[in-house]
Symmetry: C2
Subunit: 256 residues, 2 copies
Amino acid sequence: MSKRPLILVTNDDGITAPGIRALISVMNTIGDVVVVAPDSPQSGMGHAITVNATLYIENVEIDGKQQEYSCSGTPADCVKLAVREILDRKPDICVSGINHGSNSSINVIYSGTMSAALEAGIEGIPAIGFSLLDYNWNANFEHCKPFVETITKQVLEHGLPDGVVLNVNLPNLNGEDIKGIKVCRQARANWVEEFDKRTNPMGRDYYWLAGKFVNMDNGEDTDEWALANGYVSVVPVQFDLTAHHTIQKLNTWKLN
Amino acid sequence: MSKRPLILVTNDDGITAPGIRALISVMNTIGDVVVVAPDSPQSGMGHAITVNATLYIENVEIDGKQQEYSCSGTPADCVKLAVREILDRKPDICVSGINHGSNSSINVIYSGTMSAALEAGIEGIPAIGFSLLDYNWNANFEHCKPFVETITKQVLEHGLPDGVVLNVNLPNLNGEDIKGIKVCRQARANWVEEFDKRTNPMGRDYYWLAGKFVNMDNGEDTDEWALANGYVSVVPVQFDLTAHHTIQKLNTWKLN
């Protein structure tokens, strides 16, 4: 495109997280950046939206020249507010992240980072969620930058099919150890929870959600395989959740 | 099956909502019921989980003989806690709802009701989310009951394909005006937000999320068509979000 693209940047770790600052620095080299991101961490918020509470937006200055707004809502709220209330025109692309931690495989379902990308996709905006497999607040995002740049530029060049956004995960390796970028499918995996049960000072039991990730999918075409083997994984993700292949079978049931 | 099935019941409107009480009354005629549901309304929570806060469970008695637990977490948390901490064995089925309001079409993405069903599906439990197209707290659920019973019994008889749960929506009509049950695909529709901007007593602007639902999909095989034409819609929903049909095209991009 001839003029600089308008880029909406958001995340779920909050507007001051190092991951979004790294993402903004890459996007500033590609286009005109507007940031609308949660004012506090929203990890695990899935596709939550704020339906019974008020939403606040604050114009803030954190670093650099880009316009930035912190928002009291969820990542999906941020995208809705950006499109309807903040931006003068539809952005050319929406990028979300870089998340502090994996959103590969089934994690896509729980991910605030990806829900922001999906929300943009629903609005007809090409969108990408980026995540680094390092949960530390002070994770090093430097090696992510060239991959983020390549994938973003390819999306700007080719667009994305209607109803599809990209879920990009980056392995926690030195840049030179990353073998490349692989287009994958979502691995069939889940979390096996092991709740940590404790008693509070008032004598009441409570729980912490904890657990381990179990991958039952040995396919070499999955995101889990790619990440375990040193690749950046790119999964095209859709928000038509229909299991089309099962409709014929369900029509054989005695429903009427 | 020879012995009575074990049925996990949950929702997102909270354990005292009339919709879940109607669902429980149907399930008591089919099997042994255990209720684990949020202690307060969780609408619009999407697939949120509680990762940085404590979770409480309370054994409560509301009506009837079924075991009931109220939980401080989200619908997805309820299912995780039920499976790992409350139930002695894996339930034969998980039903969620009956939601006060539609979860058809794109609403499935934002729905706490459906996230509970999806969470159960991820755990390998056949699961159904039920929703009535009436947002009133005092909605009449009586006419839903025979359809809820039929669909639940069919799922218990046939099981569900791996990775698939059902999203059932019921039109807000008198029972005799409902034409039957239709297996459908999710319509391509979205919400066009119209934020309601106000100023609080301290002079600060805030927003309410509001908007209208726009269906751009005229297909007669969609849930929106079925509901508009007096049918109960059943959409098989999957949590593999991969847009498999786009992988080949993405592989033509210059990613490496």
